[in-house]
Symmetry: C2
Subunit: 347 residues, 2 copies
């Protein structure tokens, strides 16, 4: 059977006819088979290019059962961290001749499940996922693991056997940040975070609590706000802070967007940052550097996370990696101390 | 021939055997053929689900020559505008059962060409492109148009027959912005923009010039800076401004990142915004709202652009759209006037 499926496509038979050689010579030339001379390979390639020949990747894929497609499911694409992570994945994938198919769960488990279904139908070679805000039940990944399709979670990860997690040490980062704020003289520290069913947020909350405990500061649940960490959520917390009988002396938010919007509303009401209230965020979004004062944050490099995730998956797919797929990769993350939390200097 | 290609896959024959019905009954049940009773459809579906049956999308695609994959090539993914545009595309594609394959040119024509090649090999149903910074020759799109694969450009578009462009009126937006600055009393207006081979930047430069001309203000090429519009480019322009014998009274940058970084450096050197120099940007990135003063900008809604682009392409692919693929769609864009350019109020 000729290797083609579209009538208008040029086949190896057409090339063979044009050159007066056998189809198998054309086929082997295109694969650079050692039995074919360099001169013939050159001639065949030239003719193939001239005639617009394209090997039928589809038919090839059908035979070898490999699509070179990596599926990516994320809560949403348009945050700085997430678009940087996807940029990093695309860079590594492209270099290795893989393609990236993307989809968004819009923070809903039900969409995540249907996106997994779509990725299965597309026969992706591997799947990369950051979980939706409200995903509890993980059964929608069963079909992936059952057919041994490699599965990598990043940022918001899951406790699933036969999958790899790429994370930072969220506990440690939040612990260090809270310690820093305490070192700057803060003792009533507001923490704004997300749904604690997600590892990233539960880890940060634990780190926050641990630092308080170590300094004999009492944990006050009225100072912890759990929300969606959007711009409006930061403003909402700022309004609640302004109504408190005793103002807090610091706010540590689980992302920079929320930290920035909270700070802006506090400033509008005459609160001096960091003198009255110190501010800290998370992620090192560009926005954290452009506000005044610049915001202390945790460097969480999306581009690098994306590169590591994609490289790990591709190594596994190419069989370069003899480590089992079941493991956790913890990336470093550092505090970036800026003016928004330098209470001591502010006097 | 059974509709499967992987030996371990469950086929309609297996389902038929398990239920004691004919394979054609299974096949028709799965397609909800009207000749099959609802009860039988229910039974077959239940059994198919139980056995983990998956219709072979690959084989189906091979037959009908449709992949339901849309290729997207953009300069880079991690700008607010671009990630929002891709988010909009994904939303519309997902709803219509299309998948999005993404790739980045990293602003290089040579990468763009190889990405086009990759998309062709993937047999995308349609291609969406925003051009790289330095793309001049458009021949790498020839194979796309020759095989009648629909091609849509957005933002940075091309003058190619048989393709659709989705844009805003860049000329008009820059003309209005420059007029606004002149109305605020400015007459020495710096313009920062990108490579004028790209429509977006040439259009904005023309609008800027036209507004000056209409107000009998002379065009001074020393006040126009052409660069890559990155954060560091905005700072670079600020340094050059600080060295000028006569300071300008306004800066109009072709994106918000550049406007913000230019403003920040000017402020560090004691320049009052907008009193000494008014600032205007482009895109309405979130960053434009969080700096002080908030930045006057052009509302260019990436999410909406992405939705329009994807919907237009899908309508065409589904044959819903009887308009020729050759046309231009111009989306509205409005000025958003904020404090950074309100010179009159600043006194």
């Amino acid at each position: 059977m000729p290797d083609h499926s579209q009538k208008q496509d040029v086949t190896i038979y057409d090339i063979a006819e044009a050159l007066g050689v056998s189809p198998s010579t054309v086929s082997r030339s295109l694969k650079e088979h050692p039995s074919i001379s360099k001169e013939t390979i050159r001639k065949v390639r030239k003719q193939a290019k001239k005639m617009g020949y394209r090997s039928n990747i589809f038919a090839q894929n059908l035979r070898r059962q490999k699509t070179n497609i990596i599926g990516v499911i994320v809560p949403r694409l348009n945050s700085h961290f997430m678009s940087s992570a996807i940029s990093g994945m695309e860079k590594v994938a492209n270099k290795n001749h893989y393609k990236i198919i993307i989809s968004q769960s819009h923070e809903q488990a039900v969409n995540e499940a249907s996106n997994v279904e779509m990725m299965l139908e597309q026969r992706v070679d591997g799947l990369i996922v950051s979980l939706a805000y409200n995903t509890m039940d993980l059964h929608h990944f069963d079909a992936i693991t059952e057919q041994h399709t490699p599965l990598i979670f990043f940022d918001r990860v899951a406790d699933l056997p036969n999958s790899t997690n790429v994370v930072i040490d969220n506990y440690q980062a939040a612990y260090k940040m809270t310690n820093h704020l305490i070192d700057e003289g803060c003792s009533r520290i507001v923490h704004i975070t997300g749904n604690t069913s997600r590892n990233v947020y539960s880890g940060r909350l634990k780190g926050y609590k641990e630092a308080l405990l170590e300094h004999q500061l009492s944990y006050d649940s009225d100072l912890v706000f759990i929300n969606d960490l959007r711009e409006e959520d930061g403003e909402q917390v700022a309004r609640k802070i302004l109504e408190m009988d005793q103002l807090p002396d610091a706010v540590f938010a689980s992302n920079d967007v929320c930290a920035v919007s909270c700070m802006a509303l506090l400033q509008e009401h005459g609160i001096e940052i960091p003198r009255d209230i110190a501010i800290a965020g998370f992620n090192n979004d560009p926005i954290s550097r452009f506000v005044k004062p610049k915001i202390t944050t945790v460097d969480y490099d999306g581009e690098r996370v994306g590169e590591v995730v994609a490289q790990n998956l591709i190594n596994h797919l190419e069989g370069d990696d003899h480590i089992s797929i079941t493991n956790t990769i913890v990336l470093n993350s550092d505090l970036i101390i800026r003016d928004s939390s330098r209470k001591q200097d502010a006097g």
